[in-house]
């Protein structure tokens, strides 16, 4: 096992950043630490890198105890949200930095830099300064720089957080392909569940300094351990004291016999191919999402009456008190920016 985190505690003054966290991160995989801001995921990443020290607990990297090692000795590649480019050095010299520190022979450094710049598609920019690159290019340079030292593990702290939506999506696909090529154990921190679901082999959901669930994207989405994980991974709505996904609701204009509830349509919003339906069920707001064709068949109108039940195989999780009702209210967006608890 590549990274073993054992019983890590970390406080900043009165604030508990990490509360007895234990985690095993497998070798050669792409793992996402997913959770809301301030949940402790970045702190955990920084502790693995040695940039922060844990109050108690141990860290092992590839079987070697790294708890008391300084960052210089851990052989980890670290990529920061804001690139952390060495502004006075060219792209090539940024990438060469780690190798120059290691006093590798010059021809070897040159060859390695060329190889890495090709890998991150920056070979034409070798002699530019970081200020002459776009954000996405700077982040690819930072990645090449981190990979140059052939790190045991590659750690990325919100690597695409400072980029605009389009570039973020491009880089996300590119990171996945890069990982398939390079196979270095990679951990990245994100608060964007779409990013985690799309890119990661394994997702660790962290909230309020604790691990909520560890699993593959499918496991997390289909078998969320609790209401937090479920609500964090996509839009949810509350029905009969349970959480269910809006697209997992079956709507009918006449009583199908097994309906969980009956409600009145209060609002209809069409967004592209889907129609979002807001219902009033005994004074409670319930959201459902149907396709355009279904909406036409049901002849949906505001003020109309609908019978509702979850579809067969729908993910249903009991809503607990810690999930504030306000977090679920309103017709949610495309799911990419569902507001999680604690934000």
């Amino acid at each position: 096992m590549s990274i073993e985190v054992r019983n890590i505690d970390k406080r900043f003054g009165d604030f508990i950043a990490l509360d007895d966290v234990s985690l095993t991160i497998p070798s050669g995989q792409l793992t996402a630490l997913l959770g809301p801001s301030g949940g402790g995921k970045s702190t955990l990443l920084r502790i693995i890198a040695g940039l922060e020290s844990a109050d108690t607990g141990t860290i092992q990297i590839e079987g070697r105890d790294a708890t008391d090692l300084p960052p210089q000795k851990r052989n980890v590649g670290f990529v920061f949200q804001h690139y952390a480019a060495f502004k006075h050095l060219t792209v090539a010299r940024n990438v060469a930095f780690g190798l120059e520190i290691r006093k590798r022979p010059k021809p070897e450094i040159r060859a390695k830099v060329v190889e890495l710049l090709e890998l991150v598609h920056l070979d034409q920019f070798a002699d530019r300064l970081p200020s002459q690159l776009s954000g996405g290019q700077r982040q690819r340079m930072a990645l090449a720089r981190a990979l140059a030292i052939e790190p045991t593990v590659l750690l990325l702290d919100e690597p695409f957080g400072a980029l605009d939506a389009k570039v973020r999506k491009e880089l996300r696909d590119w990171l996945r392909r890069l990982h398939d090529e390079v196979h270095v154990t990679t951990v990245f921190v994100t608060h964007d569940q779409e990013e985690a679901l799309e890119v990661a082999d394994e997702i660790v959901v962290i909230n309020e300094g604790r691990i909520e669930q560890v699993g593959s994207p499918d496991e997390l989405y289909d078998q969320p351990a609790n209401d937090f994980v479920m609500s964090f991974l996509g839009p949810v709505t509350r029905l009969d004291g349970n959480l269910v996904r809006p697209h997992d609701l079956f709507l009918a204009t006449s009583d199908p016999g097994d309906a969980s509830a009956v409600g009145t349509v209060t609002r209809l919003v069409r967004v592209g191919f889907e129609v979002r339906v807001e219902l009033d069920v005994a004074g409670q707001s319930v959201q459902a999402v149907v396709t355009r064709a279904e909406a036409r068949n049901l002849d949906l109108r505001e003020g109309g009456t609908l019978w509702i039940r979850p579809v067969a195989g729908a993910v249903i999780v009991e809503a607990t008190e810690r999930l504030a009702v306000g977090d679920l209210d309103g017709i949610d967006g495309d799911g990419a920016d569902a507001v999680p608890v604690g934000r």
Partner: protein
């Protein structure tokens, strides 16, 4: 993301900029005009006047003045001590700035304020302070009155804030994650300082050094009491110039001023060259 789509806008931008240089907008034209007039009134015209005054004596007059034994000694003393003080300031100023930015300690705020005092004080007050502290009746038992050391000490006192104040804001603005990135790439703390922090600080250090040197070669008030102004030994150029003026020899005073002007120019240009070299090297 190819070379083309990045290089192309850069090229057009450059063309656009050079196109505009021929026709300034009304506001920027006005701004430039005011700046040039202001600069001319305060700097260019007085400096030209000094040069004109110097030329009145002709080459031979100029040469006679600066080859005068007493004047040459004053120039050597002033420039020599100013260079020495500037070197000391480069190290001490950077160190003090580092302590003020990176460390938390009791009395930090007080120190921040005290740093500026040598700069804010009227120089003759500084001279008085130095005389009573390091003069003949020194309470600490250090008597440097009428020695070259007194010139050095006075220069040190008045130029202390320059490097500190230019380096401090730049150091405070440096991103912590850049240093962390260097650390995770294996760089030791010393290497991080030398290869990452120092190149970022060099322009500020150089600017502070230039200010500190310029202030030192022009210093008068803070040393005039303590140094004793002994000809050939502790007399500095500003004192020498004053005695020329008092004797009605304005041409000689201007000649010395011209030399100081040239020295200042050479040092400032040299610092700029060094600064460019070092901040590129990394």
């Amino acid at each position: 993301m190819t070379a083309v789509d990045v290089a192309a806008p850069a090229r057009t931008a450059r063309r656009r900029r050079s196109g505009r240089a021929n026709g300034l907008t009304a506001t920027s034209g006005l701004g430039l005009g005011v700046s040039v007039i202001w600069f001319s009134l305060l700097v260019l015209i007085p400096l030209s006047a000094v040069l004109v005054k110097t030329s009145e004596g002709g080459w031979s007059g100029f040469w006679t003045t600066i080859s005068n034994e007493q004047t040459a000694a004053a120039l050597r003393l002033t420039v020599g001590q100013a260079l020495l003080v500037t070197v000391v300031n480069v190290f001490m100023g950077t160190l003090i700035a580092w302590v003020l930015v990176r460390d938390e300690f009791f009395g930090k705020r007080a120190l921040e304020v005290v740093i500026d005092i040598p700069f804010a004080l009227p120089t003759i007050v500084a001279g008085l302070v130095l005389l009573s502290l390091y003069g003949a009746n020194s309470p600490v038992g250090v008597n440097v009155a009428n020695t070259r050391t007194s010139v050095f000490v006075a220069f040190l006192f008045v130029t202390l804030p320059f490097v500190v104040r230019t380096v401090q804001p730049v150091l405070a603005e440096l991103d912590a994650d850049v240093e962390e990135a260097a650390a995770s790439l294996g760089a030791s703390r010393f290497t991080i300082f030398r290869r990452i922090i120092l190149p970022a600080l060099v322009p500020a250090i150089s600017a502070g050094a230039a200010l500190s040197f310029a202030r030192a070669i022009s210093e008068y008030g803070s040393l005039v009491l303590l140094s004793g102004n002994l000809p050939l030994r502790t007399e500095v150029t500003s004192v020498r110039m004053l005695s020329y003026i008092e004797n009605g020899d304005l041409a000689s005073a201007s000649a010395v001023a011209t030399i100081l002007l040239l020295v200042a120019l050479v040092v400032i240009v040299a610092l700029d060259v060094i600064q460019r070299r070092v901040s590129r090297r990394g």
